[in-house]
């Protein structure tokens, strides 16, 4: 009987080539008709340690991290030690016995075979070939992929890699045919032509779709991926990209650019964002749109630089001195990442306020296949007017939104001041008059943003008595767990917008007799926010804070 899915895990030292095996393998498996999901966990180092990549293949889409391993390929002994908790009686362990020892090891001499072609460097290709053999991948797809990957390095290298792949494939096929490794996952022809997109891709492409034309950042894991993606598209999509000297510069540069009419984004992580906070408050004061992609990782301080956490919700909600409006989106899926990143620009421009896209390491580093038809145009406009003499940048209006002019477009002056300012944008100390009006103007905008808050997404039982509450990247794991448990009384509510919360929140929660909050931080920051906004105190909180994402199995345990 065919399995629903197979979890393949590759592990080895940083620099051993895990990533190149992963990228080859995922491309081949998708091309061959498997639904694929891949995620990685890695150490903050360039060499050594243990990094691992999980690849799940399935007939129907599977899009969340799983604990249990079906096929484990450790490239060094430390990998076995570090991941031993995930090895079960059913796990097949494939490896080179000169590198790894385990009582259940199925020996494939990757290195010796590679040496036959002149260099142990080909051993990763041997591994790819053998995994393809085990999974019954179409041989031609394997070879064409290997060929296209190595052709640029010359015919000789390409040829040796092909031979290495072929030797590996033969061994894998034998292991399958002899019944030594029994993994059988059905392919699905409907995925032909699907895209492979990560959370990083989704946010970057969503930003493009929302009109982003300027991106400034200082490199920081895991926020740098989006910055790198923007840079990689700068010529194709005409984006102003600059690596700033620090996050303080990045934020202020983004605000200068937005002031002059760009749709700017910064991409960062906890500590980097902490440096941007002064500038965030400036954005609030000068009512200048900016989109902040904040990819969370465990803190405090440097914390676990390459790991995942949902620990910066409070930081995003409360950052900045003084009161000013903001919106915070937290995508749960790749598709939602694309849509929310695009919407972030529209919201920022419309309300002339900072808007967050709050992701995390697990979200940005995970990817899976989906059809291009899932991505639709999201109309945007910059909401910019041509100014006339006498233009007032902060004109008091009924709804608090002043027509936004930019310098150089029209004959008016566009004045932005970080001091409290009058309608024209010039410094004032008129306390009872102008100050009060400007505070009220900013509060009106906050009310409008709340009015426009996105509705929560509810799945599972309509007539629920038990409700799972969560946000951000936990979405897929909870969805899959829910469909495994299939409890007729349980529903799951996911909040794509975590701040301000939509007005329907209290009503949705009130229907449940039992509420379980699931989040990846040590206190339940989102549950606290819900309590603050609705008065509903969610007592049962399932919290995880070791830096790893929730697995489907963990959520299943919670639901049972």
């Amino acid at each position: 009987m065919a399995d629903k899915q197979a979890v393949i895990v590759l592990a080895g030292e940083a620099g051993q080539g895990i990533q190149s095996i992963e990228s080859m393998l995922v491309g081949i498996l998708k091309k061959d008709g498997f639904n694929v999901f891949a995620t990685k966990e890695y150490m903050s180092r360039v060499r050594g340690g243990v990094n691992s990549t999980e690849i799940i293949i399935s007939e129907n889409p599977v899009r969340a991290f799983r604990e249990k391993i079906d096929l484990f390929i450790p490239l060094n002994q430390n990998s076995i030690e570090r991941l031993k908790g995930r090895i079960s009686g059913e796990t097949a362990i494939l490896g080179d016995s000169t590198q790894v020892k385990h009582e259940k090891l199925i020996n494939v001499p990757f290195q010796r075979i590679a040496s036959e072609f002149g260099n142990v460097i080909f051993s990763n290709t041997v591994a790819v070939g053998s995994i393809c053999g085990i999974l019954g991948v179409n041989e031609e797809i394997l070879y064409s992929h290997v060929k296209s990957k190595f052709t640029a390095k010359g015919d000789e290298i390409a040829d040796k890699n092909l031979k290495a792949a072929s030797s590996g494939y033969a061994i894998g096929r034998e292991l399958k045919n002899n019944g030594i490794i029994k993994i059988s996952v059905k392919k699905n022809s409907s995925i032909e032509g699907h895209l492979l997109l990560s959370g990083t891709d989704a946010i970057a492409l969503g930003a493009l779709s929302g009109g982003c034309d300027a991106c400034f950042a200082y490199p920081m894991t895991p926020g740098s991926g989006v910055f790198t993606a923007m840079a990689s598209m700068e010529h194709k999509a005409a984006i102003a990209v600059e690596q700033a000297e620090d996050e303080i510069c990045a934020m202020n540069m983004a605000l200068g650019a937005s002031y002059a009419g760009a749709s700017s984004m910064v991409s960062t992580s906890g500590g980097g964002f902490a440096l941007m906070v002064e500038g965030l408050s400036l954005a609030g004061m000068i009512e200048t749109p900016v989109v902040v992609h904040l990819a969370q990782r465990p803190g405090p301080a440097t914390g676990l630089p390459t790991r995942s956490q949902q620990g910066d919700l409070n930081l995003a909600v409360y950052s900045g001195h003084g009161f000013f409006p903001r919106a915070i989106y937290a995508p749960g899926t790749v598709k939602e990442g694309f849509e929310l990143a695009a919407l972030a620009f529209e919201t920022a421009d419309k309300f002339q306020s900072p808007v967050f896209v709050l992701s995390d390491q697990y979200f940005v580093d995970s990817y899976y296949n989906m059809p291009i038809s899932e991505f639709h145009e999201i109309k945007y406009e910059k909401h910019i007017i041509e100014t006339k003499p006498g233009y007032k940048r902060y004109q008091l209006t009924r709804d608090g939104i002043s027509p936004r002019g930019v310098p150089g477009f029209g004959s008016g002056f566009v004045c932005a001041d970080s001091d409290e300012h009058d309608e024209e944008g010039r410094i004032t100390e008129d306390l009872d008059g102008v100050r009060n009006s400007m505070v009220e103007k900013r509060m009106k905008k906050a009310a409008l943003i709340k009015e426009a808050a996105l509705e929560p997404v509810i799945t599972g039982a309509k007539d629920y008595s038990r409700l799972i509450v969560s946000w951000g990247s936990n979405f897929n794991a909870i969805e899959e767990a829910l469909s495994i448990v299939n409890d007729p009384k349980t529903a799951f509510v996911h909040f794509p917008q975590v701040y301000p919360l939509p007005k329907s929140t209290a009503e949705i929660l009130a229907q449940a007799k039992e509420i379980i909050d699931i989040e990846q931080n040590e206190t339940g920051q989102f549950a606290d926010l819900i309590k603050l906004e609705t008065g509903i105190d969610i007592k049962k909180r399932v919290l995880k804070y070791n830096g790893m994402p929730f697995s489907v199995e963990e959520i299943v345990k919670v639901l049972k």
Partner: protein, 283 residues
């Protein structure tokens, strides 16, 4: 000549403040250059000098303390056609904004920086600034400043800033000419302008600056070694254009949107087709 940027009304400066003299110099320089109001953006941080844009008839971005330069570069990134003039004090530019100062010179956007250098903090009432001279006693530096003062012009020349000059409010005509050249020079131009703080600096007064500066003659600003030597002179300090360089790459020229056109970003719209094409590459 009509000073179109002149804005009448009260300001927050003390009578006799060097900022007032520098404002007059700026107004003359800008009208002699024929700058148009709608093509100029004044940028500043926070401080007494940083209030300067508030007193012009024009667009401005009066941002955060120390952060004028990132904002100025951002403005050029969004619209390279704008003339961007930064005015800020020595604490704003060289203290809080020191790191940005270094990297803005490396980045080299086409902006002009007018640094009001009075060697003291004014708005916060009399603490030492990065350019305060050794021995100056303040409410904080009660035993006198012991730190080595920052030499902004020498630093800028060492970093190969394409235009480095020093002016003084006491030398109105000369300083006006320097500022005009700085504004017209393509790339990052720095004019450090000596001026007195009449309330909090009792050492470096108008008189002191007159007695400790001289106008350079016969100096070749294209000679970097000579420029650096001049910039390092203490005691009697040279005024004039210390250093010039014409061929440095300019930040906004190198940004992808301006490869083919100088059209500002506000006037552009990205078609979904562009996004779709990139999406399709992910297959």
């Amino acid at each position: 000549m009509e000073k179109i940027f002149d804005r009448t009304g009260e300001n927050a400066w003390c009578p006799g403040c060097g900022n007032i003299g520098l404002r007059n110099i700026m107004l003359s320089a800008m009208s002699e250059l024929g700058l148009k109001q709608e093509e100029v953006v004044f940028v500043s941080g926070i401080g007494q000098a940083a209030k300067a844009p508030q007193y012009y008839n024009g667009s401005f971005f009066n941002g955060l303390h120390g952060r004028a330069l990132p904002a100025a570069a951002g403005i050029k990134a969004a619209n390279p056609n704008l003339k961007v003039i930064v005015e800020s004090g020595d604490g704003d530019m060289y203290g809080e904004g020191g790191n940005h100062f270094l990297h803005a010179i490396r980045r080299n956007p086409d902006i002009t920086v007018i640094a009001h250098n009075n060697m003291v903090y004014g708005l916060t009432k009399g603490q030492a600034s990065p350019t305060s001279q050794e021995g100056m006693v303040t409410p904080i530096q009660v035993d006198g400043v012991f730190e080595e003062p920052l030499n902004p012009v020498a630093l800028a020349i060492a970093m190969d800033a394409p235009f480095v000059a020093r002016g003084s409010v006491g030398e109105m005509e000369k300083t006006k000419e320097i500022i005009k050249q700085a504004v017209m020079h393509r790339g990052f131009s720095l004019v450090d302008v000596f001026q007195a703080c009449v309330s909090f600096n009792k050492i470096n007064t108008h008189k002191w600056f007159r007695e400790h500066t001289y106008i350079m003659e016969g100096h070749d600003p294209h000679d970097r070694q000579a420029a650096l030597k001049k910039a390092m002179e203490t005691g009697n300090m040279p005024l004039g254009i210390l250093y010039m360089k014409e061929d440095r790459a300019v930040f906004e020229d190198k940004l992808a949107p301006y490869e083919k056109s100088k059209q500002p970003l506000y006037a552009r719209h990205r078609e979904f087709e562009t996004v779709k094409k990139i999406l399709a590459e992910k297959a």
